[in-house]
Each structure stands twice: as structure tokens, then as C-alpha cells.
Symmetry: C2
């Protein structure tokens, strides 16, 4: 078809985790938070319903101000976006011309490939080392953008400030994106490194730790100059009125946030222990999921048998992951069901 | 700065209409609907608040199904987006490579230029004829995308099916976008022309006729094949849960919609008549605004004096528009205030 760019015709769209239509599933396949958002978020949204006929404020000024306070950084270094996926797209649109090199590590978030394809970029995957670290030889000198999720998904493993600094030093003419979608669960952030690395961009989301996957909210952090450029590429009414007041209320209710976060972290410890007790190998995770290894029966079998019991986890049929399942941290009750299902499957 | 693409560094961001922070303004500068959305929209949003921790359904399937019924077209020919601005961006990202020609007419929606700049396209403006029609000589044979708002903003004038068919025939290797942001107020649509023109794309928004500027919702209509390609470029969770249920409820409440629409159309007639009675030249409008010509005092003076009276209208300091004001259709009460303010300004 002559109307469509070749890079778009050739690319595949991203395929997100399965979403069942009926009720009654234990849904541990999309790393959603098992707990609802703060009641203050819902109140704020209800109070905003009378204003829907008017356009939103275009820069999400109040959210940026609140995030600035929370993260100890200037509001001019922050962009609020329609999910952090939009932030990632804006970044690539701002920095990547057709043919430029975009690098991600493997295995990690597969959407990076889709984003690179949209720009007609040359996309390169570099394998993580055996212990999920950066490989010795990086060879990313010419990259325009390098993606590093921290903690990484689906391994749940963490990179050090030294790793990030090293990458920023090597990728001199390009951007290093530290994707902190799961950063809160590790209680780390590279935001404070921004003052030392002008080519660093940090992205965060409200989908996981703030329980707002359904509202679509992300944050981007970078130098003022980079943010000023990204802002021009942003759809100028990208964040709607309800999302703006919801984000503000979520950031303001840090007590609720921290208590929720602690519950997820506690359940993560418990799940890791109980799976290990069943003989399942689990990589110690810093995120809101664990990567668990199954050999007999195979991971694919366990996935299928869990699905028959109406428990959804994520199975990736790709190298290094084909004997693993990524399991999101659920409520205590969901975790009970999961553990007893796995115990029964393994005992069969 | 080496990190940013030249086309992005060189471009200016879009500047939307002024949004006052305080209450008490008569706000007729952004073509917002003066009436609230259907109460069923607000109920649907309230009922969805319990699901915010989970991701939205990625394809907005229920909205597409309802829109398909309403417009008599297949759901596979529809895309739901985060405002119609997102639909326009997706289209350019799918079709336009750096250096490709993108055409818009002048004067019209200025965001087309920003969208073209994002893609590094060569952007060309062609003047409308004196009576706001298409010029005799179009010279758009090589365009990859041509934008035609119908009705046009800020003139409020309408193009015929013949105009659209002519454009689609000339722009053989490119897309003709009929931007129907204001289409409901003219009670016309090019959607039924899609079956005859494979290079036609129609866009619509919920911001104007459905009173949902604050919720960000747009629709794109095209051939199944084009929609399939656009869908790959869409942020796959672009439309949040509240927007999806809101859109569905809005489409389902056609009685409310039609009664609201009629009120705006009636006030448009009244405003046109009363401005004419004051000696102000008004172009007969098919949209939810009128373009009114002022000479003594100048449009800029009238704009300023209205602003001092806390009435906001839109003034564009650009050729062909510098003696005009674009005035959105407000409530009857707002229209009373506007008319009496203009009468008093003209009498001074």
C-alpha cells in the first residue's frame, strides 16, 4: 500500500497481556496492583466531573509541581504524559531519525521494539549477562537511545547507579532512558543523577505502584532543555482533566501509597519463600512480580494448568524465558490460591 | 543540542487558546460546548471508578461497536483515540517520512503545521479562495497528506462532497484528511464517501458536540486496511477506562446529544442575526462559532475591550484574520452578555 511508510507496514503491533472479559479470574499477568488507588483519587475525580466540557490545562502544572516537591527536582524537569508509554514515544520522536540506532537489552520490555519501528530506526537487542547484569562489551557508542528498565522486567533485577553512570558515559551522543515503571517497588530512582548526566531521561508510571493502570498516567524526568523539546512533541491536551486531578491526589496521599507499597513488598517476600519451598527457583525480585523457573512440568504446562484453574500469569515463548513464568504480586488471598494451585500441579 | 532531531529543535510548539485560572469569565475562545455532557456520561464514569487499578481494554471495542452502529460503518474502520489530535498524529506518523509534502489550507487549524514539523515533513499552506472555497489551481499532486477541516475553522464554512471527491482524485498517492471536529454542527459527514475513496480519512472529536473537551476522545474513520496500519502506531492503552465508558454513554444518549446540538445551532442563528443588526459582518457559520469582522474599532481593540469585561474570544494576528474575531457559541445568558458588551463597545 503506497500510503503507508515501509517501516510501519513492516512492523508488528505490540501485544499486551491477555485480558479476560468475564469475572472470576485471578489476574496475575499484567503487573497491575492488586489494591485499589487511594480513596482521595476517586474523590478528586468525582469532584472534577462538572468540568468535563472544558479543555484540560495543557501542561498538567499542578501535577508537575507536586511531583517536583516529592522528587526534589524542578517542575521544568518534569513532563506528565498519557501513561509512561507516551513519554517513551515522545522521546523517540524527539531524538530518533529513520536509520538511527536504538538499543534495548534482552530480555526486557518488548514495546521498545515497536517504538523503534515506528520511527524507522535500526533496533538492536543486546543480551543481558547470565546474572542479568550489563554485558562486559556494550558496543552502544553510536546509539541514539538506549533503554534500561530498572528494575528490569521480566527478571525483577536491579542495576546500580554505577551501571547507569557507565551507560551515560558511553552513549555520548544519545539518550539513556532509565525506565522506572517498577522503581517504587525497589525504592530506588536515578532522578537524582540527572544533574550529573545531561543525556539521562527517567520515566515513571502511575500504573503499578499507584494502582492507576486504568487512568493512564506517566512522568518523564530530564534536563530542562530536553523537557522543553519533548514538550513541543507532546499532544498538548494529552492528559485529561480526570487524570490530572487523579494524579495530583495520588501523589498527595503518600501515607496510603507507602502502606500499599509495603503490602506488595511483603507479599513478594512471602511468594518467593513459598515458591522456593515448593522447589521452584525464583529470581529475587525488586518489582511487583517474580520470575519463576519451572522444568517438570514445563513452564508452558504450568501456565496452561493455572489457566484452567482461572489463574492468569504471563508466559513468554522466547529464548531464556521459555522455562519461566512471570507472576504479578496479588493480594494475600490470590497468593494463597496461586500457591495451592502450583503445589497441586507440581504434585501431580 | 545533539540529542534532539533538527526538525524538532526548529519547530515551535502549538499555542492553544488562553485558559483563565479564575472563575467568572465568559469563555468563548476555545469552541467548547456551553452545555455539560449527558448525565449518563457522568454516571458511567462514576460506575467505572472501582476498576482503575486494571488496564483498559486496548482497542476500545465497545465504543467502536457503538460508533459503527451510529455511522453505519464496520467497527474495523474505526479507531478511538485520545482526542482527535492523537488520531491526526497517528496518521502522520503512519504516512509521512521526513521530507514528504504535507498540505493544509490557509487560514485553518494551526496544529497541522506542528504535526507536520514533528515528522520533519515539508509543510505547505495554500490560500483558500476569497469566498473560502478551494482555489482553482490546487497543485497537491505530490502531497502525502492534505488536511481539509469541514466545516473549516475559523471561518465556519463548508465544503461540498464534490470538493472532497476532487481532492481525493488529485492526491492519488497520499491521504486526504477531512477533519470533522465541527461536523455535527453542520450535520454533514464524509464517512459514507469512504467506500469510494481508499485514500480518504475522516476524523471526529467528542470535544465539541459531545461536550467532552476535558475527557479527550476522538474517532478516526478509514478503510479497514488503513485502520489496521494506524492501529499499530497507536499507543496501545491510549484511551483510559473512564474515557471509554464516557464515550460509550455519550454515543448511546443520542436524545440528549441532539437536543444539545439544536440549542447551539439556534443560538448560532440568533448571534449571527444580532451581530448583523449591530452592523457587524458575520460569515454564515456551520460550526459552533462565528467569524465576525470589525473595522472601527479594530478587531484587536474589540478583543481587548471584551477581555476587560471578562469576555474571552479568539483573536488571530495573522493575514486575512487580523480584522476578525472568532466567537464560540455560548449559552443564551453568555450570548446576552456578549451582545450587550459589543453593542456598548461599538457605541463608544
Amino acid at each position: 500500500m503506497s500510503y503507508i511508510r515501509n517501516n510501519v507496514e513492516d512492523m508488528n503491533g505490540y501485544i499486551p497481556g491477555y485480558q479476560p472479559e468475564e469475572e472470576g479470574w485471578v489476574k496475575l499477568n499484567q503487573n497491575e496492583n492488586p489494591y485499589p488507588p487511594s480513596p482521595r483519587v476517586l474523590d478528586a475525580i468525582r469532584n472534577e466531573l462538572g468540568s468535563l466540557k472544558c479543555y484540560p490545562e495543557t501542561s498538567s502544572a499542578l501535577v508537575r509541581k507536586e511531583a517536583a516537591k516529592l522528587y526534589g527536582i524542578a517542575p521544568e524537569q518534569i513532563l506528565v504524559t498519557n501513561g509512561s508509554d507516551e513519554m517513551l514515544r515522545i522521546l523517540l520522536e524527539s531524538c530518533v531519525s529513520p536509520g538511527d540506532e536504538v538499543v534495548a537489552f534482552y530480555p526486557s520490555y518488548t514495546y521498545y521494539r515497536t517504538l523503534a519501528a515506528m520511527q524507522g530506526a535500526y533496533f538492536r537487542l543486546i543480551d543481558f549477562s547470565d546474572d542479568w547484569g550489563l554485558p562486559e562489551k556494550l558496543g552502544v557508542e553510536d546509539a541514539k537511545v538506549v533503554f534500561l528498565p530498572n528494575p528490569n522486567a521480566p527478571s525483577g533485577t536491579l542495576f546500580s547507579e554505577g551501571d547507569i553512570a557507565k551507560l551515560c558515559g558511553i552513549v555520548l551522543d544519545g539518550i539513556v532512558v532509565v525506565d522506572e515503571a517498577y522503581g517504587d517497588f525497589a525504592q530506588v530512582s536515578a532522578i537524582q543523577m540527572l544533574k550529573d548526566y545531561p543525556n539521562l531521561v527517567v520515566t515513571r508510571t502511575f500504573s503499578k505502584s499507584y494502582s492507576l493502570a486504568g487512568l493512564r498516567l506517566g512522568l518523564g524526568f530530564a534536563s530542562q532543555e530536553l523537557i522543553r523539546q519533548f514538550d513541543k512533541v507532546r499532544d498538548f491536551y494529552d492528559v485529561d482533566r480526570l487524570a490530572q486531578v487523579g494524579a495530583l491526589a495520588a501523589l498527595q496521599d503518600q501515607d496510603y501509597f507507602r502502606s500499599n507499597l509495603q503490602k506488595v513488598i511483603n507479599t513478594r517476600s512471602r511468594l518467593t519463600k513459598e515458591l522456593s519451598a515448593l522447589g521452584v527457583e525464583v529470581i529475587p525480585s525488586q518489582a511487583n512480580f517474580v520470575l519463576a523457573k519451572f522444568t517438570n512440568p514445563t513452564a508452558k504446562d504450568v501456565y496452561q494448568q493455572l489457566r484452567e484453574r482461572k489463574i492468569l500469569v504471563r508466559y513468554f515463548e522466547t529464548p531464556r524465558l521459555e522455562d519461566c513464568l512471570r507472576i504479578s504480586i496479588g493480594t494475600d488471598e490470590e497468593t494463597d490460591k496461586l500457591i495451592s494451585a502450583i503445589a497441586s500441579i507440581l504434585a501431580d
